[in-house]
């Protein structure tokens, strides 16, 4: 074969190739179709598992709805399937339900559906995420008064029941009661069209929706583990919205960093020497250069944290002073402790979790170096999720090494009660603090209402961070989402759990 024919063949081949490519690559989406790319495939798509963000992002307010929603701005409770609610007495709440709402299977939405959803979520045999987390610790007994009125009784005083109802996604009562479903039926603006395992979930606008119809008619949710690929998909028009872009990939104008209601911190195991000395715990906080970490390892929009919840959470305390970076003071505190016989040279393990947030290993490598500079003997151990959970959750070994543990706490429910009891009371299963005084404050706050509730929660946050110094707060975190330039969508603080497809439109 001579040179000319090779060139010709190559040209023909390339032309055929690009022709085939142009035909088969998904072209830019039409005005009513949208593709969203997330990191992980959902687990079950069961409405009672929406505490898992993978499920919630597909279901919440797309396929299924809740009685009420929480405002992403200030966490106040707003109507959804319930139009009105009131506390009848300490242990009784009444909800008035919206009329003329139907499920995608044609069944009417009524009080019986709410009662069934509540029962299902609390069924121990189903082990629903919502029942095990948000609704935990209180027995909720529904009573159907009439199709549009339901009474929910509690066995303990539940001042924020409406907030909790914002977590209960309501599926059709015809869904199986003895098993989780992969085919949810809700009242939302979209119905499930198809779930191709390992590939995608397709949603289609529901014609019978009770409120404003979405401008997107067909939405597809797909998952790619690699941040660079997710980012590239928006560039090529294969997707219009991509979540959880790593800081190093999220440098274009289409990348939006939004607060994700997560706070990163290090939990101090304060039972074990030398961490049982308050001076040593204070030194840990003073040794970390938080300003140096922002904009380098952490995103520049991350905010220095003083406590474990973000300002949008009810009970947040704005008056806790942020830790300053003072390695010299840290050293002198360690010296003072040493002089009193505290074993400050003992090795402290920093347990990290691989991939808990972008650059999680890098952040701890930097922190380890900072601690070493201040005179700590710290060793870093990065763990995969399962062994990390073993370090996070009780019971812990009695003869364990002193340790600090990298973690991240989210609160999208808007009230401090969703953060404090399990993590900072003596019997909390991830709590490393045993302090009767703090237990009392948290318990009183959980039962209180209004200003008293706020004051007590604020006191609890101050006690944890300033008096006990049980944590090394790091940052209120941000997530980066890439949004195609022709798409109208602004991710809010709930975007970690909810893709509000109804709010998405093309320009």
């Amino acid at each position: 074969m001579n040179m000319i024919s090779i060139t010709k063949a190559a040209k023909v081949g390339l032309a055929a190739f690009s022709l085939a490519a142009n035909v088969s690559i998904p072209a830019h989406a039409t005005s009513d179709t949208l593709t969203v790319v997330v990191t992980d495939e959902p687990k079950s798509l069961d409405p009672c598992d929406t505490d898992l963000s993978g499920n919630s992002r597909i279901l919440r307010n797309n396929i299924t709805e809740t009685l009420v929603n929480l405002s992403p701005i200030d966490g106040t409770v707003t109507p959804s399937l319930a139009t009105d609610w009131r506390q009848v007495d300490d242990l009784t709440w009444e909800f008035k339900l919206r009329e003329k709402v139907t499920f995608h299977d044609g069944k009417p939405f009524d009080a019986n559906a709410v009662a069934a959803a509540l029962k299902r979520a609390q069924d121990p045999a189903l082990a629903c995420e919502v029942g095990l987390a948000t609704l935990k610790g209180v027995k909720l007994s529904p009573e159907v008064v009439n199709p549009t009125t339901i009474i929910i009784r509690t066995d303990v005083i539940e001042p924020i029941l409406p907030n909790k109802m914002a977590a209960l996604d309501i599926g059709s009562p015809d869904m199986p009661n003895d098993a989780k479903t992969r085919a949810p039926v809700g009242t939302g603006p979209f119905k499930l069209l198809e779930w191709l395992p390992g590939q995608s979930v397709a949603l289609q606008a529901y014609d019978g929706y009770w409120s404003d119809k979405p401008s997107i008619k067909n939405a597809t949710v797909i998952w790619r583990a690699e941040s660079a690929v997710r980012a590239a998909m928006v560039e090529t028009g294969e997707a219009q919205i991509a979540y959880e872009i790593a800081p190093q990939d999220g440098t274009s104008d289409h990348d939006h960093a939004f607060p994700n209601a997560e706070t990163s911190l290090l939990r101090i195991d304060q039972d074990v020497a030398p961490l049982n000395d308050r001076r040593v715990r204070e030194a840990l906080n003073l040794a970390i250069d938080r300003d140096g970490l922002i904009g380098t390892i952490f995103h520049e929009n991350a905010e220095k944290a003083m406590q474990v919840v973000t300002p949008s959470v009810f009970g947040y305390n704005p008056d806790i002073p942020a830790w300053t970076y003072d390695p010299e003071k840290a050293k002198s505190l360690l010296e003072a402790a040493r002089a009193d016989g505290v074993p400050v040279d003992k090795e402290i393990v920093i347990y990290g979790r691989i991939g808990i947030y972008p650059n999680s290993s890098e952040s701890l490598e930097a922190i380890q170096a900072m601690l070493a500079d201040a005179g700590f003997n710290a060793r870093l151990e990065m763990l995969e999720t399962s062994p990390w959970l073993k370090k996070l959750l009780k019971p812990w070994a009695k003869d364990r090494q002193p340790s600090i543990l990298q973690t991240q706490i989210d609160n999208t429910e808007g009230d401090a009660v969703f953060t404090l009891p399990n993590r900072f009371t003596s019997d909390g299963n991830t709590s490393s603090i045993v302090d009767p005084k703090l237990d009392t404050i948290i318990s009183d706050a959980s039962k209180a209402t209004g200003d008293e509730r706020k004051r007590l929660f604020q006191e609890a946050f101050k006690y944890i961070a300033v008096d006990a110094v049980n944590i090394v707060p790091l940052f209120h975190m941000v997530t980066i989402a890439r949004v195609a330039s022709d798409v109208n969508y602004t991710p809010d603080v709930q975007a970690g759990n909810e893709i509000k497809l109804k709010s998405v439109s093309y320009r």
């Binding site: 088969s24 690559i25 082990a127 095990l132 992969r182 390992g198 294969e238 999720t385 991830t430």
Partner: protein, 306 residues
């Protein structure tokens, strides 16, 4: 190939498979308790214990093993904790994708390596040989992960002629195949080149040349037939590796194959998925090995499959 041979191989494979499955049973359970991964942090100790009881994880390892072995003998691999479906059903959806991906990549790599390796061997040390040597060494050593991301940046983002990732028509297969192609191609070129140089200097080739056979025929028929044997052995091994999936490549491209499933299964402590995947992949490897033996015998008449 005789029936007794097949029976003997099946018998020994069954033994190996049993040993493998038994070690898989104990190894996955050594990696930790799935309960903590499946329940929210806030779940109470009682709920955790209830789930352990429900999954049978509260019982002694021996008791768990006996039940598990009885289930496996009935080919019941249990229900996936994550997918909430029979594990084998999930595995059998993913396996064909991986097998097709591996088969395409390996066939192309083998064919390309035969051509490139043979051409390189004709004039060892020449500039063509040196060029191909460099190319094949680079291909054999480049990481899949890097190649995948570069492919996405170049062909999807910059030239916009290929999709970044996903699963569908032939166009979606090009980048994953190209990534999986590189390493076996590089390795096989090296092997074929070496054995071709040896074969081209062998007496039977010199005899063929002396008899006036055409140079192309000497290279591609007489010499190649002999030089292929080591390459087939290596290809068999590569095929066996591919049966387990190109994990990293499948993850990067969101390709729904067994490699990604297995990685997810391990990370999520989804024992049923891990065990069912290992079983399915082992059976495929056994079949590949038989096929390689048969191929070997058909190329070299001195080898008898018995």
């Amino acid at each position: 190939m005789s029936f007794t041979y097949l029976l003997r191989r099946t018998f020994s494979a069954a033994f190996a498979l049993a040993a493998l499955m038994i070690s898989a049973f104990f190894l996955v359970r050594l990696t930790g308790d799935p309960v903590n991964l499946y329940l929210p942090f806030d779940a109470s100790d009682a709920t955790r214990e209830a789930m352990r009881v429900r999954l049978g994880l509260d019982r002694s390892l021996a008791a768990q093993f006996i039940d598990w072995a009885a289930d496996i003998l009935r080919l019941d691999f249990g229900v996936s904790l994550w997918h909430n479906r029979p594990a084998m059903e999930v595995v059998l959806e993913a396996l064909p994708n991986t097998l097709a991906l591996g088969a395409i990549a390996l066939t192309l790599a083998f064919l390309a390596a035969v051509i490139i390796g043979s051409i390189a061997a004709v004039n060892p040390g020449g500039w063509i040989d040196r060029g191909f040597n460099l190319l094949s060494q680079a291909a054999a050593s480049v990481p899949d992960f890097w190649l995948g991301l570069m492919g996405v940046l170049l062909f999807a983002v910059t030239f916009k002629i290929l999709p970044t990732s996903g699963f569908g028509g032939p166009i979606y297969w090009i980048l994953p195949v190209a990534c999986l192609f590189a390493r076996p191609f590089g390795t096989l070129v090296q092997i074929i080149r070496g054995s071709m140089i040896e074969a081209l200097n062998a007496t039977f080739v010199r005899t063929a040349r002396a008899k006036g056979a055409h140079a192309g025929r000497v290279t591609f028929v007489h010499a190649l037939r002999n030089a292929l044997l080591p390459a087939i052995t290596v290809t068999g091994d590569l095929a066996a590796q591919f049966a387990g999936g190109g994990g990293v490549v499948e993850v990067v491209f969101g390709f729904p194959g067994i490699g990604k499933l297995l990685i997810d299964g391990i990370l999520k402590r989804d024992f049923a998925i891990v065990q069912a995947s290992i079983f399915a992949v082992s059976v495929v490897i056994f079949i590949i090995n038989i096929l390689v033996d048969m191929l070997y015998a058909s190329i070299d008449p001195r080898v008898r499959v018995e």
